[in-house]
Symmetry: C2
Subunit: 114 residues, 2 copies
Amino acid sequence: MRPLFHPALEDIRPEAILYALSDPERVAIYAQLAGASGGGTCSALAQLGDRVIPKSSLSNHFKVLRESGLILSERQGIEMHNQTRCAELDERFPGLIKAILLAYAQIPGQPKVG
Amino acid sequence: MRPLFHPALEDIRPEAILYALSDPERVAIYAQLAGASGGGTCSALAQLGDRVIPKSSLSNHFKVLRESGLILSERQGIEMHNQTRCAELDERFPGLIKAILLAYAQIPGQPKVG
DNA sequence: ATCAACAGTTCCGAATTTCTGAACTACGGA
DNA sequence: TCCGTAGTTCAGAAATTCGGAACTGTTGAT
């Protein structure tokens, strides 16, 4: 298993952020991470609403989020702990993440961030 | 030629907005429209930076922008006039468009909105 | 040490999407 | 009517996404 790649703050690109968050499933995952205080593991997020996300798809979602710079993933023993990089990101792209989550929160059935 | 579809304000979805603006070429087009006072035609935007965008691609970009709710297109005689729906959009998704354009403006070589 | 269970990743083929040249439609002017 | 211009649609090639199956790496039990 290759080491996990995380872009440096200055290498994060807006198109990658927007692409990553243009998928409602990924937004739901991200919003969970942003809201949850505990470390969000993949399997803890395998079910969102009524759909069970296949684990290869889930793994790919996390990869997209990670490589876009939205989240930080860290292996802790058997499982993977994920957290958002929202503080850093807000420094680089002020107001962006907040506005995006707010936009999704307007839509019924979409996640509200904690 | 089919009539052009524009979503009603309440039908505009954040994922469509983010997807549309996750392509730097489309962002450049959108930023031009947002900045330009005159009606932006397709052909006026065919060249961005050093790349000449094929007209079928350009037409598709405009379609994506239009159907996501970002722009309003109106045929005026032989050409098409496009304008942003930013005022409406800001009402529905406060701060979103501004934050996105600001994010892109951080990147050297990306368009600054007028 | 070996084994089994578990969390997550990688692989790869199928399905979908994107890209763009070529053909086409629509409008306006001569 | 015929031509030129602006933009759309079509269609095939290329690229991307999806997800089941196989795999890797870690922990705990025997």
